[in-house]
Symmetry: C3
Subunit: 446 residues, 3 copies
């Protein structure tokens, strides 16, 4: 310990970090609160603390409750490895694997059995009443592993359900200037759920193979979700936010599956820019619940087919008319995005339909300009090897035929929009008397 | 101490870090210089050092002078909390607050009384003459707190003036490959002022409630300001740069107030892309002093009204003809930005004027394309609760009427520009004989 | 040592880290493997380790071989300083320099003499056969210095050749969730070479004065190269990737020299967005080998002239018809980029040619829209001072005359492309019968 506010879970005298690191951390937090009581001793008095987790396996049987500001919990390794691949390898091959489990500074979430109350299933629960809002709690560079998923009624293998009632970090009360960076999350039903955030930073994390990855709930403002590698399960969202203003979602690489890559509900004056988005289903990005005045720009959208055998036939239930980007709201800007819609024409739903890329369902005053839609018809193939299948599918671009799509569909309930250079006259379905429109020029059209 | 070049301020034998961490750090730097004297001993000899600040309150009464390369000062917590909210809470409520001060690894800047010399008011002063330029100084993950603002002649509450003569970090001489990351800055008149920077990285910091936040002065090149949360006071700039080339300002979430969110003066061949910008005044982004060949793209601009009671009536003095984005210079690109101009028509200055969004004042050859301006007339409201007021204002989009604006105004001194799809014929005021222009199509125009 | 999986090279009993840190680290890795043998002990057993390098000079005479997952090697300083400037200062001035060598936590790569086998010349070699792929190896915040370059047959000063057979980190086998962040690389022929990457993050590094900086070879997917400062030598690439899908290259500041700033070969469905790119030669960004469905958006391209005396007359051999951005492939999007092409008309090659900005050589269905090309004729000047010369050149924008350029050239082998608002009718050379085209309006054209 290099200073009295620096703690190490492996040297703390209370509890056994290998058996229940939750007990250890709660004891440390109690010590911080016991030692730091004055709110104004020499212009300070409550600097908080850092709790270090060296690389190691730390089982957590007791939920950590954080109710002090300026607490930093940091490890020395985000420790991700694919539990999904491992659990879908035939069990007889397991003895030949170098390792079976994630690693780094790793929390094994082993709370009592599932509960319907998400907050109770969280490894780290942050909640404090009164004023000010709890501030500057930081999570850095460790791994939170939910270990296993559990059976559902579908009969699919339990380890593929993305259900286990476990959450990595659950922030229940209003908060300011929190940071989550360098973390790994794996095999949790909810990785990171934060209510009522102000000036939150979720940066440079690895959040994958979780039911849902990042969920910003309640309301909030002026936050950022940047530079993360993210990929939710088929049931959940890679990024979800509701009632947020001024949210910046940028520079993320969001891979499948995820019922949505990004879903916003009642979000205003926010940006989804410059992300790489990949999904196996429609509804990749949804601006719902009257989300307005948002900017969706220079993102790369790729929608293709599930190539990995264990998840064949599983999807989010949406058909190809839903839109890869779906907007319910007003005054949004959709500018400069690339869309690759790479699907097997035989599998289009409803059969014979013309798939939709961008769909404006209701609202007014949206501005859709300079978007490039590439639509190709492929023979979907699959493989038992997760990684090989994905790379092969990604790199296959040549052996494909053009596919007719509606690049922009404007429903009658949406009007007063401006659609420019985002599809030819034939590709844009919109009431020309109710929306401003300029088609992308085509060869020979001039 | 895990190695002879690793120092901890809490275990160093000279000085008392709680009473004057400046004395402690200067003593450590002297030790580094005393021990590392050979410039070419075994192909090395001056590796520098790391100075660790565990979480704690460290008063600084002596300025730290850094004149060695490869010095890293690192803490374990950026420790931001809103001092502005706290100081605007009635004092009788203070005893009920959980904490009054910022925390983390926290420097309390308590230098002798104000001085007109910014450099003397800096907690950390970096300066070295001779060659090479001082290189690879790193500041990481601690908090610099100016404690209090001081009265000015306006009669406003002293804690709201954003004046105290204090600077967090002041770099006075040419430098290379510096890094500032994970830091918190609060209640400083100038947070971070760096002269003559080359390949500087200012990344993932929290810099708020400071008079000015980031100031790049003198000249410089090839630097980046990325992924920060920033918000200056009403007098200063959130980001200021002069005479820089190749500066990349991206992925920042810049909130109010700030006389400007970003102001460039004589800056060339630089990028302001993909930021979220929010201000209560015009002049949000200013390209001045002949700033040329810059790219301003896919940013989200929101200008609305001050919603928090303590700052009602305070602004930067600019009227609504000034422009949210103002360009004095040539050959700049303004592409794919979203602007939300949400103002109370009753308060427009000069009264009855049509507010301006983008204004080109002088220069030639600017390219303004595919920008979407949303202008709405709102009834400005305010609240005693900072956070609630801001979130409420942000999320209010529906109860608003359209507001007539000039989306692009080209002054006669600026000509030869190209304005495309950035406003209807009626919304763009520019000499059509002197500038190329294509209006955004409107409903029914085709 | 704060925990049994935390190692410090300066306290490990085997080897001498100053004389051969490679031996020390290999001994530590052997210890990790010796202690962590069970693959499923209590749902864990192989958490890996962290190896810390305090600031210091660590000679490496033995290659480090990494074949365990979840290993983090971390220092406390990226330690970059310009060896190129130092070696081009007259030797009689060296005694007056404050320091001669890079610093921080610094590896001095001193492997046996050059070899044609890149893997053997690597300071850190990562390779493991079997399953699963090696995961979550992390390199953080230290410096890898190749010390010297070596003579070639050109007669140029040996320290300017960018050749020495040394690599910083070489990853030879398939890998998952690796992280390289906060690192410094200098004077290596290859800084960072990674084969077969999945979900790799290369973030916030300083990689300069290396032959090539980042090379992603073999194949890979879903990776990101973000927020780095990068600049290769004239022979190599700042960023190179082959057969990758879903790669996100964003927020990088890439400075000269580099034969290419970014070169992609057979890369699909990837993004190059929002970077600042500066080069002294054509061929700045190359999408080759059938690279398709990529997005190149909102980047700032600056091509000007070598201003520093030691490298005058050296270039990548490409003439001005090559294109700053060159695309061989289909269905790519090139949207919203700024290009500054600042060249001395006297030096154009072939003499009298009209320089090309964007060139589509073959393929189909590319979408090029809303790009702004600024072309100016300057008198190239140079200086003995690297830094002053560069800044002066960067800030010189006014004293320049317009230069005629072909903003987009579409070769006959490329057809079915759409070119919008990226040059006037005279500036775009493309078969109008084979490509869709809308010229940027010019003054007086309407």
């Amino acid at each position: 310990m290099t200073g009295s506010n620096h703690y190490d879970v492996t040297t703390w005298p209370v509890g056994d970090p290998a058996e229940d690191v939750g007990e250890v951390i709660n004891s440390i937090i109690a010590d911080v609160k016991h030692r730091q009581t004055a709110t104004d001793a020499g212009d300070g008095g409550k600097p908080g603390a850092v709790i270090h987790l060296p690389p190691g396996d730390y089982r957590l049987r007791t939920q950590v409750l954080i109710d002090v500001s300026f607490l930093r919990i940091e490890g020395s390794g985000h420790g991700f490895t694919s539990s999904s691949i491992r659990f879908n390898v035939p069990e007889e091959e397991w003895p030949d694997l170098h390792e079976l489990w994630p690693g780094g500074s790793r929390i094994l979430v082993d709370l009592p059995s599932e509960t319907a109350d998400e907050a109770k299933g969280a490894a780290f629960h942050v909640e404090r009443s009164g004023n000010p809002r709890i501030s500057s709690v930081e999570f850095s560079n460790f791994c939170i592993d939910g270990l296993h998923f559990t059976p559902d009624s579908s009969g699919m293998p339990p380890e593929n359900t993305y259900l286990n009632g476990k959450t990595g970090i659950h922030v229940a009360s209003a908060n300011d200037s929190f940071r989550v960076s360098g973390m790994g999350f794996v095999y949790l039903e909810h990785a990171l759920t934060i209510h009522n955030a102000d000036a939150l930073s979720i940066h440079d994390n690895f959040i994958a193979e979780c039911g849902s990855c990042i969920e910003l709930r309640g309301w909030g403002q002026a936050s950022k979700i940047t530079d993360n590698l993210i990929g939710a399960g088929f049931r959940g969202h890679s990024i979800y936010a509701e009632n947020h203003g001024g949210l910046l979602v940028t520079a993320n690489n969001i891979f499948p599956r995820g019922a949505s890559s990004i879903r916003l509900d009642g979000v205003t004056r926010s940006s989804i820019t410059n992300n790489r988005l990949h999904s196996f289903y429609p509804g990749m990005v949804v601006l719902g619940g009257g989300s307005s005045e948002n900017l969706v720009a220079t993102n790369h959208f790729l929608r293709d087919h599930e190539p990995w055998t264990p998840f064949l036939g599983i999807d989010n239930g949406l058909d190809d008319l839903h839109g890869l980007l779906r907007v319910s709201g007003s005054h949004n800007s959709v500018i400069g995005n690339h869309f690759s819609q790479i699907i097997d024409a035989q599998g289009i739903r409803p059969a014979g339909a013309t798939p939709v890329t961008i769909r404006l369902t209701d609202g007014t005053g949206n501005f859709v300009s300079t978007n490039h839609v590439v639509a190709l018809d492929v023979d979907a193939s699959s493989s038992d090897s997760c990684y090989a299948a994905q790379v092969d599918a990604l790199l296959t671009t040549e052996a494909s035929a053009a596919l007719a799509v509606t690049t922009v569909l404007v429903d009658p309930a949406s009007s007063g929009n401006t659609i420019l250079d985002s599809g030819s006259d034939a590709q844009v379905v919109a009431d020309r008397a109710a929306n401003a429109f300029r088609p992308t020029p085509t060869v020979g059209s001039r």
